[in-house]
C-alpha cells in the first residue's frame, strides 16, 4: 500500500519535473529560433494583430469599469478617514502596481491565448506542423517565435493602456459622479506614480506576457500528447489547460515579482 503510494507520488513528481523541463526547452528553442527564422516581421505583425488589436476593445472596456469601480469603492473608503482627496493616489497606484498587469494579462489570455492554443492544437492534429517539418521549416520558428516576440511588445502596451483608461475611469466616478475636485485628483495621480512603479508595472507585463503566451503555445503544440484524448477533444482540453495554467502562472508570478520588488 505505502509502496504503491510512494511509487505513484514519485511517478507524478517525475512527470511534473519532466513537463517543466520540456516547457523550458520549448521556450528556449523558440527564442533561439530568432536567429534562423525567416520572414519574422510578417509573423510578428500577424501575432500583434491577434494579441493586440483584437484585444484592445476588451482591454478598454474592462479597464474603464475597473477604474470606475476603484473610484467608487476608493472614494467611500477614503472618505471614512477624511482622505477622499487621496483617491487619485489610490486608483493610480493600485492600477499601476497590481491590477493593470494582472487584469490585462487575464483578458489577453482569455481573448487571444485560448484562440492561440486552439489554433496551434488544430495545426498539430491536421498534420500542418508535420508538414512544416517535412518542408524543412522549423515549426517553432514559424509558429511560436513570432507570437512570443509579439507578446514582448503587446503586453506592456496594453497594460499601459489599461492604466491610462483605468485612471480615467477613476476620474469619471470620483470627480464627475461624486464631486471630487479634478485638479486634486490629477495632481495626486501625478505625484503618486514614480518611476519604480512604472518599471514594476512594465516588468510584470513583460514577464506575464512571455509566461502566458509560452504556456498557451506549448499547450496547443503538445495537444497530441494528451493522454486519454485525441482530436477535437484533445484540442479542447489543451485550450482549457492553457487558460487555467496561464491564469495560475500569472498570479503566482505576480506574487514572486511583487515579493522581490516591494
Amino acid at each position: 500500500m505505502i509502496t504503491h503510494l510512494l511509487r505513484t507520488v514519485g511517478r507524478r513528481s517525475l512527470a511534473v519535473v519532466a513537463g517543466l523541463g520540456d516547457f523550458a526547452e520549448f521556450v528556449v528553442r523558440a527564442f533561439a529560433a530568432v536567429g534562423h527564422a525567416r520572414q519574422l516581421r510578417k509573423g510578428v505583425a500577424r501575432a500583434i494583430h491577434q494579441q493586440g488589436v483584437r484585444c484592445l476593445l476588451v482591454i478598454t472596456v474592462v479597464s474603464l469599469f475597473s477604474g470606475l469601480v476603484l473610484g467608487l469603492q476608493g472614494y467611500y473608503v477614503l472618505a471614512r478617514f477624511g482622505s477622499a482627496g487621496l483617491l487619485g493616489t489610490f486608483v493610480s497606484l493600485t492600477l499601476t502596481r497590481e491590477l493593470a498587469p494582472v487584469l490585462a494579462t487575464l483578458m489577453i489570455v482569455g481573448q487571444a491565448g485560448s484562440a492561440m492554443a486552439a489554433e496551434i492544437g488544430i495545426y498539430r492534429y491536421s498534420e500542418q506542423i508535420d508538414a512544416l517539418t517535412t518542408m524543412a521549416i522549423d515549426p517553432l520558428g514559424y509558429l511560436i517565435t513570432p507570437r512570443l516576440l509579439a507578446a514582448l511588445l503587446v503586453f506592456p502596451i496594453l497594460t499601459t493602456a489599461f492604466v491610462l483608461v483605468g485612471t480615467f475611469g477613476g476620474y469619471l466616478s470620483g470627480c464627475c459622479l461624486l464631486g471630487l475636485d479634478s485638479g486634486v485628483y490629477w495632481s495626486n495621480v501625478h505625484s503618486a506614480v514614480r518611476f519604480v512603479d512604472v518599471r514594476e508595472c512594465l516588468l510584470k507585463a513583460l514577464v506575464f506576457g512571455i509566461v502566458t503566451i509560452a504556456i498557451c503555445c506549448h499547450s496547443g503544440f503538445t495537444a497530441h500528447r494528451r493522454t486519454g484524448a485525441s482530436g477535437s477533444r484533445a484540442v479542447s482540453i489543451s485550450t482549457t489547460r492553457a487558460v487555467v495554467f496561464s491564469s495560475i502562472a500569472t498570479l503566482a508570478t505576480d506574487y514572486v515579482i511583487t515579493s522581490f520588488l516591494v
Binding site: 520572414q39 498534420e127 500542418q128 517539418t133 517535412t134 518542408m135 524543412a136 521549416i137
Partner: protein, 252 residues
C-alpha cells in the same frame, strides 16, 4: 540496374512495447515509382515517416544517394493523406510557404515559381482561393504543387488514394505517373490499392510483420508464390469477379 536513390537497411522502430518495423530493407531506384503495400497497421506510414524524418528510427540505416546522415527533409517532399494544407493561407500562399521559409529567392522569383507550379497542376485560376474552397482532387493537386515547387528529388505519398473510389484512385495514380515524368522525381507511394499500384508502379514492396516480405516488379508480384502476396493479388481478383446479384426471379 539503376543506381538506388534511397536504400534502407535493417530499419527498426518500436512504440513502447510494440515493435512496428523489425529490420526493414528497401531499395528505391532513381526515377522509379515504388508502391509500398501492406495490411492496415503493418507500419507503412511509420516507414514513410522515418524516411521523411518525422520519426527517428531506433536502429538501421537510411542512405540517400549513397550517403547517410543527410537531411532528407531538404531532398524529399511529403504528400500527407489529408493534404495538411494551411487552411488560413490561400493556394498561392500555401505553395509559396516553403520557398519563403527555406530559400533566399526574391519576391518576384517566388511569385514566378509559385504561379508556374500552380499552372502545371491546373490551379492558376484558384491562386487566391483558400483550401476549403477547393474540391478534394484540387486540394490534392495543391498539396502536390506545394511539394513540387521546391523540386525535390523524391516525393513520399502517404496513402494518396485513401477513401477514394476505384476511378478516383486510378486518376490519382495516373496523376503521380504523369507528374513523375513531367517533374522527374522518384516516388514512394504507400497504398492499399493493388490494381492501380500494379498499373502505375515500377516496383512493388509488401510490408508484413515489420519486414519487407516481397520486393520486385509488378509482373514478379503477380507471379509470386508467396502466400501473403497471393492473398493481396487474389483479394483484388475476387473483387473484380463478383457476379451481379440476382433476385428470386433471376433479375439483376
Amino acid at each position: 540496374m539503376i543506381a538506388p536513390l534511397l536504400s534502407v537497411t535493417g530499419l527498426h522502430k518500436q512504440f513502447e512495447q510494440h515493435a512496428v518495423l523489425c529490420g526493414v530493407d528497401l531499395v528505391v531506384p532513381r526515377g522509379s515509382i515504388v508502391c509500398l503495400l501492406g495490411r492496415s497497421g503493418a507500419g507503412k506510414s511509420v516507414l514513410l515517416k522515418c524516411l521523411a524524418g518525422l520519426l527517428k528510427p531506433d536502429a538501421g540505416e537510411i542512405r540517400f544517394e549513397g550517403q547517410t546522415g543527410k537531411d532528407l527533409r531538404k531532398q524529399c517532399g511529403y504528400l500527407f493523406q489529408a493534404n495538411a494544407l494551411f487552411d488560413s493561407l490561400t493556394a498561392f500562399e500555401n505553395v509559396a510557404l516553403p520557398l519563403e521559409q527555406t530559400t533566399r529567392l526574391r519576391v518576384s522569383e517566388i511569385k514566378e515559381a509559385v504561379m508556374s507550379a500552380l499552372q502545371n497542376l491546373g490551379l492558376e485560376k484558384f491562386a487566391n482561393y483558400f483550401p476549403a474552397q477547393l474540391s478534394g482532387g484540387m486540394q490534392k493537386r495543391l498539396a502536390l504543387a506545394r511539394v513540387l515547387v521546391t523540386r525535390p528529388a523524391m516525393v513520399l505519398f502517404d496513402e494518396p488514394t485513401a477513401g477514394l473510389d476505384p476511378l478516383a484512385s486510378n486518376a490519382v495514380f495516373s496523376m503521380i505517373k504523369e507528374y513523375r515524368e513531367q517533374f522527374d522525381f522518384t516516388a514512394v507511394v504507400v497504398t492499399h490499392d493493388v490494381p492501380p499500384a500494379l498499373a502505375a508502379g515500377d516496383r512493388l514492396a509488401l510490408l508484413e510483420n515489420g519486414r519487407i516480405q516481397f520486393a520486385g516488379t509488378p509482373a514478379e508480384f503477380v507471379a509470386s508464390d508467396d502466400s501473403v502476396v497471393r492473398s493481396f493479388v487474389n483479394r483484388d481478383r475476387e473483387w473484380t469477379r463478383i457476379e451481379p446479384r440476382m433476385d428470386t426471379n433471376g433479375r439483376e
